[in-house]
Symmetry: D2
Subunit: 386 residues, 4 copies
């Protein structure tokens, strides 16, 4: 299947990306999505991670790795296969937590590529950024309904999404964990206000990264996803796999940048020999190979743990942190290998660099991951005898 | 004077940059240049490195360091002070090599900010990239005139420049050093053709980075800058100082990014304390301080050698290489310190990152500098007794 | 089994290491080896990778990983389990290439821990260092015998070894590949001369790293290991697994250093809190966790390929290079976490640092591995379309 | 003068170091010190930083840089010139704080090379390590005398020192700053007990790094150095210059390692060319040149500030941190360039690596320096407008 994905991406998807320097809106936006997903559907490649019962292909984590990586070779590839963030993670979450009725209403059209969705968790300061305990968005019970009041930003894909999964405080005090609930909120519910698109440097995410206000948004009790006050636990369910599918997609992008750079360097001569045969270029090339191999090896280990039903917090955190930095280095070295053309739109490396940079921040900055990795290590080894 | 430049930049220049995310064309292009340079002239800050006889302020290299760094705090600052590449380096070159008549015709209006200029050296593959010996552009004598035939790219500022300094082969064979001559070519000379703007990721350079063809361009012998066949030697005259003024300007940009990030981190709380008081942020902040201090220290040493009349090839190459990488790290850490907002246009750090990245490639990629640094070291120490 | 090895190492082996700062000669040398291997034999832990037919435990590569890592937690652990270099790799080589008679004479006592062995390949300049093609040691046919003439150094464990596996040129010219043969040479053969122990910084290898001369050493044709002129091919058979078992052992040593450091940092207070809770220490701790996890993940992938019968040159080269550098970083950070005591013999970290440093050079310096990794990448991607 | 020092070191000092792998005790210890310092005295090179009035040469900080670097080219060089830690810093301290009588008794023989001294500040946990406020050693007034009670470790040079400068608490509570006093304590005062030498990996410091107990040590009031309760302030007087002279000495050692490595690489062939002409070696060589140049540039800036009478806390902390790490990298790369011989005593690089490693911990670990550098940056920029 990975081979079929590779062919589809190369033949159908990449040309659109190349023609518009990876800017999804410039390339057609929603209408391009429908066109590409249509072709993926015809080739039997759409929503490979979705539940089979709803039309997906039901791939497990380890199986996804190769397929998602191939999709990631084009910045528009994940969208084409309907495995883009946040839809991909939302499918996973709804599959595990939503009621049958919720699945019918929200999940099924998502799997079929008819709708898009958003996951509304991150808040502007002083709300929930890296520290979810600071959650300020609140949902209060009003008879049979809930009223949501809050402010979110960096809500990926929100512009055009059919519904939002909104994390809101339903108990406890801000600054303390506990007491969060997830709500399924159709985007056209009164009070859902798209404030603006954040001017992020990446431009390949359909629907952008949005700032949203929820102003007295009223939803019924059937909008509660799973149990009340269990939102943080469900976020964990979504988190591990979502981190890993990010890594899969970006591995594909970095691999492409690496290949472009090696080919470029092999074809260009300077100081009497091919650049790719010169030692300082060889260092860049070898370091790329090493970083890519280590990323895939960690990813494989994390997928095995996830497929075995483990929560895998440590390995997914370690893998996300390593991969975000390693893949960024790979793309940066690819830019360097391409010389002046590496910072232009003549080659895809500059745009891949632009798109991948935020991965060291999105989904938890490396610093926050390191902080929790260290704390786990101190718990594990702080008392052992050497 | 540095203090006056700081005030000018903050009050007058930065607002234009901030309003247009550092895109010089969007901000007004040539007309903004005239406006900003007009104000710099009124404040007595224009062309601080230009010869006094022509209206400049005559600062030496060490004196320039502080002034240029302040200008660099805005991406439009160097343009506002008329110390932008390539004009800044061209002023230096013309001051040292041009005849009186050439100075009157080309240098004087440049110093006064009436014109802009280009320096046409770099060629697309297989021509002169990092390796000047591969120079393919050719000038042939035809009676009293020269006819230039060639193809250049990455010619900064060429769109709108009044004249080009064109490096062309006048002797020897491609792949061998020697036999290059510089020509002063008015941009409106028949045969000078602007092919396109390269789609570089940086957007703050007025006139862009252009691809140019010289198609049977005919100039008189008085267009020769200095002596025939001495072009590579003059390029060296220009090179050392030009490398260092790049470092000065980028130090200012990186310092600004650092300050923005520290202020942001100091004001944002997470996990119960200010981000700036958390160890992993402290590491980023401290490393920035160290990289900035080391860059300035190397720059100071290089300027002392240049002011003492030395060629300073080794120290300027070392300083350029270190600074391009260190300042890139500084800005990258600043992005990281600002979290999600660090990759948006809400703060200036993302745009500074976009603009500074090519510095590791422009003016000689780090790899080529390292290659020549190593060869010099082997010559110096390969035979010494330990 | 890994758990039993852990207990054996902690209870029996580590105390000897700690009492003599990891110096195997000071700790008893050959007599300590016999004592420790005796206890390993009693516990059923001796020679876990050796063929079952000869008394080994027959573990495959993936199975070895956990066991060897546990052994590596003490610098004397690999010796205690009879899985030290070069014996461990020689067992592997002889199992695959030696005749029955050679196995009876050389391999069987090795598996039983009765003898030790050496692998004599590396030569002093201008002979075979990183580049095997420079092999200068020569074996010439003389009737039914071979006469070996040559000079080797860094021959690990040679002092006290019962026999040497000697690589010698039997065809072709120095500087060209091809034409090498391996010979089984009993150490007491006339003409085998131990010149000296090299004064290496590591001190835990029994038998040291020796300089050896082979002066008209005469052996019968039955001393030929495998086929004449196939020596380089057999070296490859030995190489992949031997690289990976190095990684396994050193992972154990680095893991121990990490745990010692975390425990130390958790117990020491400075500036009002535990060092381990301070951010700059957390960075060191987290980076150690990441490097250890990535090393194990790469190792796992390499073992899977080797167990599947692949030659696995690329992945073992990548893994060796990454691991040697990553584990060195881990130990270096552990030293740093322990502050002043980290550079004393009060804690094991300084001695682990001393022992692990050469791993970036032994078995191919990182630079040579990178060179071949890059060349493979250019072959793979130099012509592909992006 | 630097040239004369270079000659002295090469001709007289280095042979002793080379003959004993940098182990000062093995090389002769105190008697070697007297012999080498005698020859330095004859050549007019002894105690170049000491006050002229007492027989020193009175060099300022900037002048010391070149001289101390030359001395540092041999691990025994600083001892030979009487500029070793801690004597070198103690001379500086006594010159600025001691009374005439104290100078006559303690400083004068130190400058003449007749005695050695110790600086007793660092305490084992939970006392004063990186955090001086945790000072536990106490001095209590008893009539006209003081009684010192305490426990110190890492007291460099204490074995054989004529006197100790002991930092003891005379006011305030442990865990709080303030209330420390320095005492001049002859080593033969009853109650001064050398517990042991710490088993540090470095072996070139005469007198070792000792653990000392002060058991009811009784000294007169004239033993107070400067004013009571001003000890921490005087420690600052000593600190800045002492940090910088460490950098000077280690720059010399690293420069020697670099030169040895370049020469080795230039002379050794592999894969058909000189190692030094291969790109991956060129990277190591170039990075060494860059690190050495940046270290010297920072050092120059710090010396200028110190010579101008500034306290220079920030720049000396930045320089110490950068230099300790950069010079360690230089030596580590030098080891790598020398291949197998780089980890033996055949070349000096392994021993320089052994000696320089602790510099990242001694005199404040890099982590503690970074912590204070970051805090200063937050104070400076946390409130500025960007």
């Amino acid at each position: 299947m990975a081979r079929r994905v590779r062919a589809f991406i190369e033949e159908v998807v990449t040309p659109h990306e190349d023609a518009h320097d990876g800017d999804i809106e410039a390339a057609g936006g929603e209408s391009l999505r429908r066109e590409l997903q249509g072709q993926a559907r015809e080739r039997g490649l759409l929503t490979p991670h979705g539940p089979r019962a709803l039309g997906g292909l039901g791939l497990g984590m380890a199986q996804r790795a190769a397929v998602f990586e191939e999709a990631g070779r084009s910045l528009f590839g994940p969208l084409a296969l309907n495995i883009n963030a946040p839809d991909e993670g939302n499918v996973h979450l709804l599959e595990h937590v939503a009621t049958d009725e919720q699945q019918r209403q929200f999940l099924a059209p998502l799997v079929r590529g008819e709708t898009r969705s958003a996951f509304a968790m991150t808040e502007p300061s002083p709300g929930a950024g890296s520290d979810p305990a600071q959650l300020l968005t609140e949902a209060t019970r009003d008879g049979d309904a809930w009223v949501i009041e809050g402010h979110k930003h960096f809500i990926t894909g929100a512009d055009g999404a059919a519904f939002h999964i909104v994390m809101a405080r339903t108990g406890g005090a801000p600054g303390r964990a506990g007491g969060a609930t997830m709500f399924l909120v159709p985007a056209d519910t009164p009070g859902v206000r798209l404030v603006r698109h954040l001017g992020t440097q990446d431009r390949s995410m359909l629907g952008g990264h949005c700032e949203i206000r929820y102003e007295s948004v009223r939803v019924g009790h059937d909008a509660v996803l799973g149990e009340v006050d269990e939102g943080f636990r469900y976020a964990q369910v979504r988190l591990g796999p979502a981190r890993m599918t990010h890594v899969m997609r970006w591995t594909g992008a970095a691999q492409r940048a690496h290949e472009v750079a090696v080919r470029y360097a092999a074809g260009r001569r300077s100081f009497g020999s091919s650049i790719a045969d010169q030692g300082l270029a060889q260092q860049l090339i070898a370091d790329n190979e090493i970083d890519l191999a280590a990323t895939r090896a960690l990813l494989g280990e994390a997928c095995r743990q996830l497929d075995a039903g483990e929560r895998a917090s440590h390995i997914t955190s370690v893998t996300k942190t390593f991969a975000a930095e390693a893949l960024h280095r790979v793309v940066d070295r690819a830019v360097q290998l391409c010389g002046g053309l590496g910072v232009t739109s003549d080659l895809p490396v500059a745009r891949i660099a632009r798109e991948i940079r935020p991965f060291r921040i999105y989904d938890g900055p490396s610093e926050v991951h390191r902080w929790s990795i260290a704390r786990r290590a101190v718990r594990a080894h702080g008392q052992t005898s050497p």
